[in-house]
């Protein structure tokens, strides 16, 4: 039942994304329009995939670090991706793929560094150190990024700044295909870890006693969620709050079991981000807002509401 509702909402969101836009096409022209097939559709599908990836990554990471305030970008990935992207812009790397690739490399670099820090205590990945290491690596990367931006020319600076806030204006069927080829593996790994993630909420030792291979689980989930986030940031920049708010929203509605939580977080994240992107490109048309601004403007009030509910109950 819930999947029918969510699938319906997803289709409605995608349909709305196809219907509206600055070009103001008459309804009859829509089916044959290149604007719909080459611009709006791939863009909406990409926003949906990225939102879904962030929802799933956020849900898994909150369970992994056992902290309900965890966000996929808290673990240093946004800092690393931002550094990679700004470095690509500052160095004038050519080609349409230079920027996403550089961002991906930056994010994976930050992931590897944080992972190494998390293993400092021994063979066990320590989630507390993951969090602290993520914040530290993120701050360090942000400092270098700011240094690069402050040395850059004015137009470059604007590009870099806008990229950091995220957006789908560069979406194409190729990006959609890349994401479609890339995302299923980490998504599948996370879905296969759904039940052990339920157990992890009790703590690492109780989870072991209920059959979870905690040591392996922590590594696998951290890597899969980070790789998912790295891909999202590479194609769309840093889009905050989806990975933070969507898991809580889904937990509130569908409970805490990850077998339900992960698929619903994917659909809900996809719907939210596709809708946010439609807003981002229409409210100030013909110009665009970075979609990260829309998600933050929508996400912060939702989050404040959730916090209030917690403190009340």
């Amino acid at each position: 039942m819930k999947y029918v509702v969510l699938a319906g909402a997803a289709l409605a969101t995608l349909a709305a994304a196809l219907l509206v836009g600055p070009a103001n096409l008459p309804l009859a022209d829509l089916p044959g329009s290149a604007i719909v097939w080459q611009l709006r559709l791939p863009r909406a599908v990409l926003a949906f995939l990225v939102g879904g990836a962030l929802g799933v990554a956020g849900t898994s990471l909150q369970a992994l670090v056992r902290n309900p305030l965890a966000d996929p970008f808290l673990l240093g990935l946004s800092g690393g991706a931002g550094l990679g992207a700004v470095a690509a812009i500052a160095l004038h790397l050519p080609g349409p793929w230079a920027l996403p690739l550089a961002a991906f490399v930056g994010a994976v670099g930050a992931m590897a560094l944080v992972y190494r820090l998390g293993l400092m205590g021994g063979a066990e990945l320590d989630p507390r150190i993951l969090l602290l290491g993520g914040v530290a690596v993120g701050a360090f990367a942000a400092a270098i990024t700011t240094a690069l931006v402050s040395l850059a020319q004015a137009t470059e600076l604007r590009n870099a700044f806008l990229w950091l806030w995220g957006g789908f204006s560069g979406a194409s069927w190729t990006t959609v295909l890349v994401m479609l080829a890339y995302a299923p593996l980490p998504l599948g790994v996370l879905v296969a870890s759904a039940r052990p993630l339920d157990l992890l909420a009790l703590g690492e030792e109780p989870a072991q006693y209920l059959g979870a291979d905690v040591r392996r689980l922590k590594r696998v989930v951290y890597l899969a969620a980070s790789l998912l986030t790295a891909a999202a940031v590479a194609v769309a920049g840093v889009i905050g709050f989806v990975g933070l708010v969507v898991p809580h929203l889904c937990r509130l509605v569908w409970g805490r079991l990850h077998r339900t939580l992960l698929p619903t977080a994917f659909l809900t994240g996809g719907i939210l981000l596709a809708a946010a992107d439609t807003l981002a490109r229409t409210v100030v048309a013909p110009r665009e807002l970075p979609v990260g601004i829309v998600t933050a403007l929508l996400g912060v009030p939702v989050f404040a509401f959730l916090l209030r509910r917690w403190t009340v109950s």
Partner: protein
Amino acid sequence: MDRELIVALRGVTCRYPDAARDNLVSVSLELPAGELHAVLGPNGSGKTTLVRAALGLVPLVAGEAEILGRPAHTWSRRALARLVGVLPQREDNLFPQRVRETVLLGRYPHLSLFGGVGATDRAAVDGALAACDAADLADRWLWTLSGGEYQRVRLARALAQEPRLLVLDEPTASLDLRHEMELFELVRTLVDAQGLGVLMITHHVNLAARFADRVLLLSEGRPAGAGAPGGVLTRDTVERVFAWPVSIAPFEGRPQMTPLRLRKEAR
């Protein structure tokens, strides 16, 4: 009747990586099905380490730890969870959940990767809740339970694993008299009626003496006595291990300890 040996520790010595001394020194224990063994000893005497060693979670320096005749560390976590239910002292509840949900977690070691929760699982959950007198709690939120109810629910989760062995780490800490007695009676019933083996860590010398078939007394990681309560819990031994004067008198055939006041000159 010859009962199957579930846990066997033989001369186990172990040490955590950063410890100054061995945390356990040549400790032995044999727990057959249908018996309740209590592990006693002061804080830091190695009780929890003993349990972790028995479950293959601490590497051994010397000795053997076996479960059903197989070295404990060779069991996969999942296979072991189908055999042993553990109630650790501490656990968290990161996100709110209901009683039935948390008891269902006990079925996880039995579920296949993509398979759903079936009728046998639901029956096991209901059976475990009933056995722990917790059936009427099933739809409650966990955070609304009293301490005694919460421990019964956790015991039900361990029973839902359909284990042969229960390991309980201070299950009655911070429970009042009635809830504490109820839990001990419940555990004893499970041992006698279902033939479970139970290894229980506790600070309650007197309850251990009355409910356990055998006790193992640890002192600074070394065995200070092992066997039937009457043989182990003598005044000399208890005073030495717990470093406090006591008197011991039998009650219903089991030794019962009363800690003494320090004598003050003014009295």
